[in-house]
């Protein structure tokens, strides 16, 4: 904390520091349950997977740079393309947004000292890491997932894909899903129960609304995927017949189950980006978000309606017209809440005094790409249009504008925006702006021509194409764009890495931000806040009197909770003071449990059912040991 007014306050802060001190060294990182450290672990791990997914994308684009290219054969191309998709969705975007941004920021924004279940939070991270290693083990052994990220059967069934490639995919994603489910439950309980007294739901930052919506979407979206993956593995490994038409199964059932998960997944990917946008825009326009309640509702509505549109991925599968029309209508309706948010962002920018620093530039890029990707999305709701262009590069163009341009740009902007908070140093602004323009140009250059080659009929997921089709120049442009984009991303990493050591030191609140993470020092202390902050609006940092009151509370010892590893819990709607929770500190059990779970999945893959069962028993033993330690107060 920047200012400690009195000797009593100083004594209290010292005591907090003693109680909350994290274990140093490697062991500290392996056993940590601190949400900020877990957030940082998530950040570096997901960035490593981003790099891997990026290399795969570059290989794919290099293969397609000219007709009849022989850099990657069809076999390698399929693995690169599939692993690129799986990595970017499951190992990069979701972990970086929910795991890194969510973990680091949500407790800070709601004025809490940790997540509701800190040890489960650590478990989520270690499970995620293990699942990523699991999937990549397949790739390094030459058996990477190879039937596309949506792995349609019968292509993904044993008969047509006899190697272990799809087993790495299916088991790896079930493994990954456990991690995401645990994280989602943790976020909901944290947001519902650990908000600082006074932060009623209508005073909660929009960022947290986005994370609440995402977490609920994850809880309901992942089970259908897990059922589909379970069926697939039973078919492939034990000879069941869920998707086998010859024995009464149904191949389309895979598509239904997959897309019941898969479309909400699109919103799971993009909602955190909305949350980041609604944090950055008010800060750099010096005004509150326009239509706060509407934007909050829209964030939740998008997640909700996202569950009712999955068949628009299946317009070309021969379903009945009435089904198609229903889902086309539902797909059009989802435009409404998305539009509300878009207009709210634009109006806030328009009526504020925007200062185009790097984070806001990325948000502007996001708005442009979201508009373009959204518009091509609306076009797909028109059934004949979809049937004409399905499985062409037009689809690839659409969803990359949405999930790269719209979902990843705010993540990149967010990296810049919260960099001073996490490191206590400022990045280099000029280099930051240059990196934006490189990334923006690269993205447009890579993905815009795909619309045209799609309209010209180039199918997606092909490893090469003949010359003379009129596709070659566009493909060359796209591949050049991919390298421009990569150079922009590289510049971001370089800027942040160098600035982490050489950047100018900054105080708690270099931007004049609106939310509570800016109330504490940069980087925040282990206990987050010396005193649980007072909250009377959704823009807590702009309520100067409340922050002055915090300093007085510290002197009085009011809501400092320095006697133990404690944080307050409040009621769900009104955030009235409810009880004091004793939070667990570091624990060896989460990482041990994740290792045992990795054993289960590894031996399931190898087909040693008994050994997998032994590891399952080991998981139970670890859980029993985990729960021997009870909070002291109890």
């Amino acid at each position: 904390m920047a200012t400690v007014a009195s000797p009593e306050a100083a004594r209290r802060v010292q005591r907090l520091e003693r109680v909350w001190r994290e274990r140093p060294g490697l062991l500290g990182w392996l056993t940590t349950c601190d949400h900020k450290r877990i957030g940082i672990l998530y950040l570096f791990t997901s960035l490593a997977f981003f790099a891997a997914g990026g290399v795969e994308a570059l290989l794919v684009r290099t293969q397609l740079i000219r007709p009849d290219n022989g850099l990657l054969g069809p076999e390698k191309f399929d693995q690169m393309m599939t692993t690129h998709g799986v990595t970017m969705i499951f190992l990069f975007v979701i972990p970086i947004s929910i795991g890194a941004f969510g973990n680091y920021l949500v407790p800070l924004m709601i004025g809490s000292r940790d997540m509701a279940f800190p040890r489960m939070n650590a478990l989520s991270y270690w499970l995620f890491l293990a699942s990523g290693i699991f999937i990549y083990t397949g790739l390094f052994l030459g058996h990477g997932p190879n039937a596309g990220w949506f792995d349609y059967v019968p292509l993904g069934s044993k008969q047509y894909d006899p190697g272990p490639n799809v087993d790495f995919y299916a088991l790896g994603l079930i493994f990954n899903g456990v991690s995401s489910t645990a994280a989602a439950i943790n976020f909901i309980v944290t947001i519902f129960k650990l908000r600082a007294p006074g932060m009623s739901l209508n005073r909660m930052p929009l960022f947290c609304y986005a994370f609440l919506a995402v977490s609920f979407a994850l809880i309901f979206a992942l089970p259908p995927l897990n059922v589909a993956l379970g069926f697939l593995e039973l078919d492939r490994r034990l000879g069941f017949h869920f998707f086998d038409v010859a024995h009464g199964g149904d191949a389309l059932m895979w598509q239904h189950l997959f897309w019941i998960f898969g479309h909400p997944e699109v919103y799971i990917i993009i909602l955190p980006a909305f949350g980041i946008a609604t944090s950055i825009i008010p800060t750099f326009t010096r005004r509150k978000m326009v239509a706060f309640p509407l934007v909050a509702l829209a964030e939740i509505l998008v997640a909700f309606i996202g569950f009712g549109v999955w068949v628009h991925h299946m317009f070309a599968t021969g379903l009945s017209s009435i089904t198609l029309v229903y889902f086309a209508a539902a797909s059009l309706i989802i435009v409404v809440p998305s539009g509300i948010q878009l207009f709210a962002w634009i109006t806030t920018l328009n009526t504020g005094r925007p200062e185009f620093k790097t984070p806001l530039l990325f948000i502007c890029g996001f708005i442009i790409f979201f508009l373009l990707g959204g518009l091509s999305g609306v076009m797909f709701a028109a059934i004949p249009f979809d049937q004409q262009l399905t499985d062409t590069y037009f689809v690839v163009a659409h969803f990359h504008f949405v999930i790269f341009g719209a979902a990843v740009f705010p993540i990149l902007g967010g990296l810049y925006y919260w960099f001073p908070k996490v490191t206590g140093r400022m990045y280099h602004e000029r280099t930051g702006q240059l990196s934006f323009w490189l990334a923006f140009t690269g993205t447009a250059l890579t993905f815009f021509p795909m619309h045209i080659v799609g309209l010209l009929g180039m199918p997606r997921r092909v490893y090469t194409y003949p010359g003379g089709m009129g596709w070659s120049d566009y493909n060359l442009l796209e591949s050049i764009g991919a390298y421009v984009l990569a150079s922009g991303l590289f510049l971001i990493v370089a800027n942040l890495l160098v600035s982490a050591f050489r950047g100018v030191r900054v105080g708690p609140d270099p931007w004049g931000g609106a939310t509570l993470e800016w109330a504490t020092s940069s980087p925040p202390p282990d206990y987050n806040f010396p005193v649980i902050p007072k909250v009377t609006s959704a823009y807590a940092m702009w309520d100067r009197e409340d922050r002055e009151e915090d300093a007085r509370k510290l002197t009085r010892g009011d809501l400092v909770l320095e006697r133990g590893h404690e944080t307050p819990a409040s009621t769900v709607l009104d955030a009235d003071w409810d009880e004091i929770l004793e939070m667990p500190s570091d624990s060896p059990w989460p990482i041990t449990l994740a290792a045992a779970a990795a054993g289960v999945f590894a031996f399931l893959l190898l087909g040693h059912w008994l050994v997998a069962g032994v590891f399952g028993g080991l998981c139970l033993a670890v859980l029993a040991a985990w729960h021997r330690q009870e909070p002291q107060l109890a």
Partner: protein, 195 residues
């Protein structure tokens, strides 16, 4: 139970975090069962005749009776939860054991029925066999997990009641409310071809 924990439990106005956690876990698990049951009916309505391949429909009497018993075991679990909140460790343990006897009995009979079904047809016979055994297997697995949770709870209750264990009793009761209710849905799905 110490006075401080009694006050904590009494003055708390919203559900404890643990109960929120299990409620959300139930939400995701219910969706899992929803997907499984939906898959069963999706496959069922793809075919004119069901069960496929001349497999005999299951006999309803015994599965219905034992599922009824499993649902009734909710009552002692509810009472256990209430007793824990009153601070009575003996009553809590007795109610958990009473429920456990029924739940374990249910699982034993279900395993016998499962083995009996397996002697008639296999999951590899056709899609009906696949979805039938998978649905039942997943359901029985959930009952098994519940039994392990109850056993764990009893081992903790053996050394007295703490605030943490009061919440644990509540959480495990909620798990049983779910596992018992979902067993009804699964059983009705299983028996839909003979009802």
């Amino acid at each position: 139970m110490t006075d401080t924990t009694r006050t904590a439990a009494a003055s708390r106005r919203s559900l404890p975090n643990g109960v929120w956690g299990i409620a959300l876990f139930i939400a995701t698990e219910a969706t899992l069962f929803g997907s499984l049951i939906a898959s069963y009916f999706y496959l069922r309505f793809k075919h004119a005749g069901w069960p496929l391949g001349g497999i005999e429909p299951p006999k309803p009497a015994l599965p219905l009776a034992i599922t009824g018993a499993l649902v009734l075991a909710i009552v002692p679990m509810f009472l256990a939860s209430a007793a824990a909140r009153r601070g009575s460790v003996g009553a809590t343990a007795r109610f958990v054991i009473a429920a456990l006897v029924v739940q374990a009995g249910y699982l034993v009979v279900q395993i016998v029925l499962f083995a009996d079904d397996l002697s008639k047809f296999k999951p590899t016979t056709n899609a009906y066999g696949s979805v039938y055994f998978t649905l039942l297997g997943v359901d029985h697995f959930h009952v098994l997990i519940g039994i392990l949770l109850s056993l764990w709870l009893l081992s903790r209750l053996a050394t007295g009641l703490t605030n943490y264990r009061v919440v644990a009793t509540r959480v495990i009761s909620w798990y049983w409310y779910f596992a018992s209710t979902v067993a009804v849905a699964v059983t009705l799905t299983q028996l839909s071809s003979s009802l």
